[in-house]
Amino acid sequence: MTQVIRATGLGKRYELGRTLRRDRTLRESVVESVGELMRSTRRNGAQSADRELWALRDATFEIAEGEAVGLIGANGAGKSTLLKLLSRVTAPTTGRAEIHGRVGSLLEVGTGFHPDLTGRENVFLNGAILGMRGSEIERKFDEIVAFAEVERFLDTPVKRYSSGMYLRLAFAVAAHLEPEVLLVDEVLAVGDAAFQRKCLGKMGDVAASGRTVVFVSHNMDAVLRLCTRALLLEHGRVAESGPSAEVVAGYLARGGTGSPPAQWIDLADARRRGSAEARFTRVRYAVPDEPGRVPRPGGPVRFDLEIDSTIAQSVASVAVVLRSQTGVMLLVADIIERGVPLSLTPGRTAVRFDIGALNLTSGTYGVTLWMSQAIGKPIDEVTAFDLEILGDATRGFGASAGSLVHCPFTVSFPSGADAQPD
């Protein structure tokens, strides 16, 4: 396989409080220079390292032709910086990278859209900015418009568009770019579920057509399904690189976007409310017999809770609650259902919940712990941690249109019936 992207020692340094300043005036710059001069004469050498930030450091990697590579990592790990360097939006401080082929970058949907221009005009302008030739845009124009479903509003300025229409048109242009190397930032984080699905589908097509895709995402399910390989960035360095299933698993085992499995999570600083006669002190979750693995959709999970009580009392309700990212309560495992109150003694008490089947789709969920009497205010309610659920699927689509409830099913196509797929 030929290497399409070859990067050696790529690094990007920002000088804090200087280059990052947006509006810099000559006067400020003079004042700073004078200040720097005085500082450098006072203590020579010691470059003010605290004012520097290496957003990316010493990134060395290769990406082969036709590979779909996911860039994962926490916020601020350097994913977007790496993408900006590869797309030449900004120059690296150190290192070098070579990219063979026509590069298309999609760091944002709708770059260069002008609000006063019509949909038609913006298709041409945006296409040109993304690197398409005029003839190419003309050839694909009808396709782009059909994909965006905005035929009726082609001659309306885009400032009158709904945000959904705007996004659809912007993505449609980008989706019809045909680069040999496609660099995509987290564009999927915008728009509704149907839109995100369209984006993912189009990226899958690009990857399947043998072109090279580099894709930044927080959506582990999408990375697993779309990417053959993943690079994990941590604090500006490439921490891990390999098959996406391994890298994603390693990332999640160390916490990933939520908290790591099979480790006690201290709740001393967690957001909470309640009378505080008793408190949850720490919590741990794990998949039984598979420490280090995050739960699968439909799979088991165990929660271990520790409660510290100041007095001896009996509580009717102790619960683990899972919520969606938008705050919808999805699951409650509560001892009140069993009608067996928990007797607390002064000091520590342990509670274990074994959930047989966690029927939620892949994604990130908020876990809340709850303790109260049958009626009345909570004794303790803690926003404990974020839980990542991730399946094993490495192909196909993520859960349809952002659905949350996991639904196991099989599908068959009985002969004779008119079940021909379209």
Partner: protein, 277 residues
């Protein structure tokens, strides 16, 4: 895809001495065209007078100048009716002054593009000045109308405005490149530009003839490239004395220096545009 040009994109730290990268700009000429077209389209959107603004600006300035400088102050106009004398200068001047202001702000106003997508950054100020050329053509039509109204017949010397228009274009771009790049680094430029344009107006023979100056000074005066442009326009269209070859040479040399240093400075700073803007 049919185009099998095995292009290699190299990402590396900014070079200390950048190249002009004119080849890259040439391959992206369609982008320059679309950016120009956008600037033209957008410039007069949602305005009452629309494209008439391109004509109103030199026309109204000409009326004011004719009243105050021509009528009241009795400024000499080299034997030409003062309105014509002023308008022949105001048409290239308006192009220069607007081009200067707009290209100075062009890169800063395009920051959403610069931070998100790569293309030769020179395309931005270039497209801005090119879009201004359309206004220039419209204003020139106004000038033609006045020439005819004053009974001046077309002459072969009218061709002379072509090289002087090109000189005006080059000077505008040269100064514009400097200001556009400086404005990214120092927003002082935003405040300085209107003031600069005003001072430059008085340093250019628009309300008065350059013949007011004596000889060693007239050549020094030509360090301002717009001097040769304005004198050239008047000579070609109105038959006033031609600018001396020395002053034309000085103006051309200054323009060339502005253009080359402006491009280099722009290319040098553009590597950090996305980080600074």
């Amino acid at each position: 895809m049919s185009e099998s040009q095995a292009r290699v994109v190299v990402v590396e730290p900014a070079a200390r001495w950048p190249s002009f990268a004119l080849g890259e700009l040439w391959t992206q000429r369609e982008l320059v065209y679309f950016l120009t077209w956008r600037d033209v389209k957008v410039r007069y959107k949602q305005t009452l007078f629309g494209v008439a603004w391109a004509i109103l600006q030199p026309l109204l300035t000409m009326l004011v100048f004719s009243l105050f400088f021509g009528r009241l102050a009795k400024v000499p106009s080299q034997g030409v009716p003062y309105p014509l004398f002023a308008l022949a200068a105001l048409v290239p001047w308006t192009f220069f002054a607007n081009g200067l202001t707009q290209s100075a702000n062009s890169v800063v106003l395009s920051q959403n593009l610069i931070t998100k997508v790569y293309f030769p950054r020179l395309a931005i100020p270039l497209a801005t000045v090119l879009a201004g050329a359309l206004d220039f053509v419209l204003a020139f039509v106004l000038l033609l109308v006045f020439l005819i109204a004053y009974g001046i017949a077309p002459k072969a010397s009218w061709i002379g405005i072509v090289p002087f228009s090109l000189l005006a274009f080059a000077a505008t771009l040269g100064v514009g490149l400097w200001l556009a790049a400086l404005n990214v680094l120092y927003r002082d430029v935003r405040y300085a530009v209107p003031f600069l344009a005003q001072l430059w107006l008085f340093a250019t023979p628009i309300a008065y003839p350059s013949s007011l100056l004596g000889e060693p000074w007239r050549t020094v005066y030509a360090l301002n490239p717009m001097v040769a442009v304005v004198d050239g326009f008047r000579w070609a269209l109105l038959g006033t004395p031609a600018p001396s070859s020395a002053s034309v040479a000085v103006s051309c040399a200054v323009t060339l220096v502005l253009l080359v240093t402006g491009s280099l400075f722009f290319r040098r700073t553009e590597q950090s545009f996305a980080d600074v803007v």
